[in-house]
Symmetry: C2
Subunit: 152 residues, 2 copies
């Protein structure tokens, strides 16, 4: 139902937890998994993907772990999703990859999707990771895709 995969969902949850800590601090995969209640191997797999995409930095060896590569305000939900499940778009066509759909050559709607897909991607780019955190109890304003909300 136009769902993103749970992997991407969990990835965002994990990064959200990470964003609630002091930036630059390291967290082990085990730690993050426990906090987000995602199974450890799954969390580990996600963190690997996110590292490869450059969204988190990893440090190996003893006292190693993962940390956000950038400020949570500059990491968009779109980037996270793209890192985990690839290009964003509702259809096979119009997302850069050609020839994915075998109806392309005679499809009446082909090409009409590109602007829609881009609009959705843009909407997700406008949501920073910092907006996914639970709202602060201070009533701090949170930007969210152009929509401003105030915590109760």
């Amino acid at each position: 139902m136009i769902r993103m995969t749970k992997l991407a969902d969990y990835g965002i949850v994990i990064l959200t937890h990470m964003s609630m800590e002091r930036q630059g601090s390291l967290h082990t995969a085990h730690d993050l998994a426990a906090r987000s209640r995602v199974p450890v191997p799954t969390a580990s797999k996600l963190l690997k993907s996110l590292t490869r995409a450059g969204l988190v930095l990893s440090h190996r060896g003893r006292h190693g772990g993962y940390g956000l590569a950038r400020d949570p305000d500059t990491i968009s939900v779109a980037e996270i999703i793209a890192a985990i499940e690839g290009p964003i778009g509702l259809t096979e066509c119009g997302t850069g990859t050609e020839g994915a759909c075998d109806m392309e050559s005679f499809c009446a709607a082909k090409g009409r999707w590109a602007p829609i897909n881009q609009a959705i991607e843009r909407a997700l780019q406008d949501v920073p990771l910092s907006a996914m955190r639970p709202q602060t109890p201070t009533g701090q304003m949170v930007r969210l895709g152009g929509i401003a909300e105030v915590a109760p």
Copy 2:
């Protein structure tokens, strides 16, 4: 990858074909399947769903068939997708249905998705079925989610 199902995709293609005909005209499932190159049983299944949702009208018996229930300008892509695959939203949470995700009770991001899902739904509501047709060779203006485009 945040894909809608192919069923929904095909549904839109079929409706697009239907919208290119004189409104009110009837088309058999077989006819529409041939024109859109979707397998007949699949097209039939889709048309049934669309009928149940009230987007197309059906007429049984000899010389029966399907026809659009409303003007193509007043049918949104969002409606079509919702008719075929249910509520629109990237996540289980924040789409009306409660308790779908078993992490809801302790999820850091829960609740933060509702506005995003709504934004996407709104974007799809802004795209009328008529905008999915191949552009006319006359350079006719086509509204598309707030973006105006001109055919070459």
